[in-house]
Amino acid sequence: MRCQTARTWIIANRDGELTARQQRAFDRHLGGCSACRAERAPIEMLLATLDGLEMDAPVSARLGHDVLRRVRTLGAEAGAPGQIAEWIGRLVPALVATAVLVVAVVGIRMPAPRGNDLPTRPRTRVAAATTPAGITMVRRPKGRVPDEPPPELASRPDLFVDLPFLRELDKLRHFDSIATMEESYPPAPVAGPEPSNG
């Protein structure tokens, strides 16, 4: 197998999408190619970090209010009521999107909340931002939790409640062995890095 192929399979391998034959070829290649192993490590770490991120970005109530206040100020500066409405229409999505982006970037650098995905403390979400008239300006991408969930969700809700936990199941089963691994494994190569075979 060529390195190029192995590298395109790194994510597929993590997602469990390789066939048994592909898996063996992939494992064999990685066993002998330090360059691909080195390539895989940061990808695995990145994906693990991404897995830990929440789909929705929590935004503090204060940030929401500040955004709205700023919009009103800009609207007032723009002049006529018609123009105000036009400015609000244009600016609010951009400002809220920026706020979400900032929160997401900050979130990457902060430790993930303890517990299973959803912290228990009350939070104000972007979805809660409303106009003074009470019109919701930004909605959560997937909407509110329905009273009647889709059949797949209703049939086994525990699967979805525990999704982040299940993702880590293999790690958790061997937690003690992994946590107590010695730093010296695998032994560092004596000579330079192995040449890539691709």
């Binding site: 789909m55 699967l159 979805f160 299940l166 790690k171 937690f175 494994y185």
Partner: protein, 104 residues
């Protein structure tokens, strides 16, 4: 005496079954917090490629078939893992990759 033995056997089996199998909860059994989490995770799940979804389904079934004490052990491990500082979590993930290579 035979009757007593039967009753005791039944009681032991009932306790063992209860200890081994955790009944699946329904949507109505979830707290509002859990419903919100399940709803979000459901959309995450839907966005995953089929192979990965299947992998998670398999893990769900595996987990459900574990004895309760083993399930509790895994949950405790998860809490410990989530409680690790970011650097320690990263180190743990690195160790996990090495562990996988060693046990391949």
């Amino acid at each position: 005496m035979t009757m007593l033995r039967r009753v005791l056997t039944f009681a032991v089996l009932a306790v063992a079954a209860h200890a081994l199998a955790q009944p699946a909860r329904s949507w109505n059994d979830l707290s509002p917090d859990e419903r919100a989490r399940a709803w979000r995770n459901y959309h995450r799940f839907e966005a995953l490629p089929p192979g990965r979804r299947q992998g998670l389904e398999d893990r769900y079934q595996q987990f459900r078939q574990l004895p309760r004490n083993e399930q509790e052990r895994l949950r405790r491990n998860y809490d410990t893992y989530r409680g690790l500082p970011p650097a320690a979590q990263q180190e743990f993930r690195r160790n996990y990759q090495r562990w996988k290579e060693r046990n391949r």
